[in-house]
Every structure is written in C-alpha cells, then in structure tokens.
C-alpha cells in the first residue's frame, strides 16, 4: 500500500512539474494578449531573455490595440481585477475609469523576480499594456521609462 502511495505521489509530481514557471498565467490581462495579439490593428511584442539582459528583465510582453472600444473596456476590467494582486499602485483615473496605471505585483516567480504591469488608454483611442518580469525594481523601471520618453 505504501508503495502504491509513493507511486501516486511520483505521478502527481510528474504532472505538476510542467505547471511551474507560468507566473503571468494568473493574470487576467493575459487573455487580452491571447484574444487580440494576432488581430488586425494590434501590435504584440514578446522579448527574449537574451535581448532583455541589458534591462535586468527576463520577460517583456506588450500589446497595443488601436481603436477598439470593446478591447479598452475589457482591458480596464482586467486591470481592475489584476490590481488586486498589486503591492504598489499608481493610477490616473478619469470619470471613474482607469486611463493610466502602474502596478507592481506581489512577486510570484522564484528567485525574487519583480512583476510589473503598465497600462494606458491613449487619447487616440488605443490601449497599451506592458507586462514585465525581472530583477529590476520600480526605480529601475521608472528610469527606463524616462529614458524611452526622452529619446
């Protein structure tokens, strides 16, 4: 009987191993990447570890969806859900709706990786979401954003 339990444990472990390492999968906004990533009017970026080494990141995913009111509404709804997992929130809210947001999520990945979501609804009617995972902290990210802004 003991052997039987040992075997079951082994099978359970074998089944659970592949589930590890999907930190971003717990976020609602990822549904937006899946739904709109390959659609017309969208630009989706995913960067490799190699390319991100200079920025202290391990994962970079972003999506910009143009002129899609439904997508904006969905994004705002998902952000409202995901921000419950954030430990730092900085937002711009207009008429009760989030138009811009910065969220540092509670680290869920191993080795103390930080996770960030950046969100923006532009005046042109497009919505952008950036998801970042890496060793960089919030100061590093702000510096990086200023760097891109001034470039």
């Amino acid at each position: 009987m003991k052997q039987l339990f040992k075997r079951w444990n082994l099978i359970a472990i074998m089944l659970l191993i592949p589930m590890c390492g999907w930190a971003q999968k717990d976020l609602k906004i990822m549904a937006l990447f899946d739904e709109y990533g390959k659609k017309k009017g969208s630009t989706m970026v995913e960067l490799s570890k190699e390319m991100l080494e200079a920025y202290d990141m391990t994962l970079y995913r972003s999506i910009t969806i143009s002129e899609d009111e439904k997508a904006i509404q969905k994004a705002q709804k998902y952000i409202a859900e995901d921000k419950k997992k954030a430990k730092k929130i900085k937002e711009v809210v207009n008429k009760g709706l989030i138009v811009s947001g910065y969220y540092q999520l509670i680290a869920k990945t191993d080795k103390g990786m930080n996770r960030f979501i950046l969100f923006k609804v532009s005046r042109r009617g497009s919505v952008s979401i950036v998801y970042i995972e890496g060793k960089l902290d919030s100061d590093d990210l702000v510096t990086l954003l200023f760097m891109f802004k001034t470039e």
């Binding site: 039987l4 075997r7 017309k40 900085k90 711009v92 910065y102 802004k149």
Partner: protein
C-alpha cells in the same frame, strides 16, 4: 441366435444400419455364452465397440483463462496511469519547450503578421514603452503622485 446370424450376414454384405451394428456390438460385448461358430467374430466386434467408445467419448476440455489477481489489476492500472502521465508531460512539456524557444527568440506581431527581426522588435518595445508614458499626467504618476 438366428437373428444374430442374419445380422452378421447383413453386416458382411454392408447392408446393416447403425442401430443393427450397435446391436451386434452389444451382443458380442455382453453375451457370456456365444456359440462356437460365432466366437470368431467376438474379438472383432468387441474391438469395434471399444473403438467407437473412444471416438464418441469426449474428453473434458480445460480452458485456461487468465486469472486476474489484485496485484495484476494494480500493475495494469499503474502502467496505464504512468503512460497517461508520461503522455501528459510530453504534451505539456512540448508546449512549454515551444513557448520558451519562441520566447528565447523574441517576436513582434503587427496586424497579424509575425516578425523576428531584432531591430524591429526593439523599436516596437521602445514605442510600446513610450506609449504607456505619453500623457503629461504620467510625469506626475511616475514621480509617485496618486490621482483618483
């Protein structure tokens, strides 16, 4: 006795029925006082009776059925479970491998078209980062202001 003589004649003419032949076999097998002129046929009919007995008697056939003990069942179940687990791991693992390989390379999808050009990817990354900081209000929120 006359009847046996007649049956014998018929037998050697090949005109006896199966029942008549059985009658002859029974007679020679069971009769204790066989007349002298018939004794010559006794051995033959007794042998025939024995032979037909051997042919008609069917030996019980033993069918060997596989016996499934509890251990066997457990073993089969465990093998099936292990196979399912391996198949699952291969499928999920393959998916992860594909996904991680894809992530290692990096890509950008613009209007449904996929590109892996490094410069294009980096320029899209820059534009998406500048996109999320293109409001004047962002300067405030980046500096730590919180508006609601």
């Amino acid at each position: 006795m006359k009847k046996i003589d007649e049956l014998l004649d018929k037998y050697f003419e090949g005109a006896t029925s199966a029942a008549e032949e059985q009658q002859l076999k029974d007679y020679f097998a069971q009769e204790k006082e066989i007349p002298l002129h018939l004794q010559a046929y006794q051995d033959m009919f007794v042998s025939l009776a024995l032979l037909s007995d051997v042919n008609t008697k069917k030996e019980p056939v033993t069918i060997m059925k596989p016996v499934l003990t509890t251990i066997h069942r457990h073993r089969i179940f465990m093998q099936a479970a292990a196979s399912a687990a391996i198949l699952f791991c291969l499928t999920v693992g393959g998916g992860i491998y594909y996904h991680s390989k894809e992530a290692q390379q990096g890509y950008v999808i613009i209007n449904g078209e996929r590109y892996t050009d490094k410069n294009l990817i980096l320029s899209c990354m820059e534009s998406s980062l500048s996109e999320v900081t293109d409001y004047p209000e962002d300067v405030l929120f980046l500096e730590g202001e919180y508006q609601e």
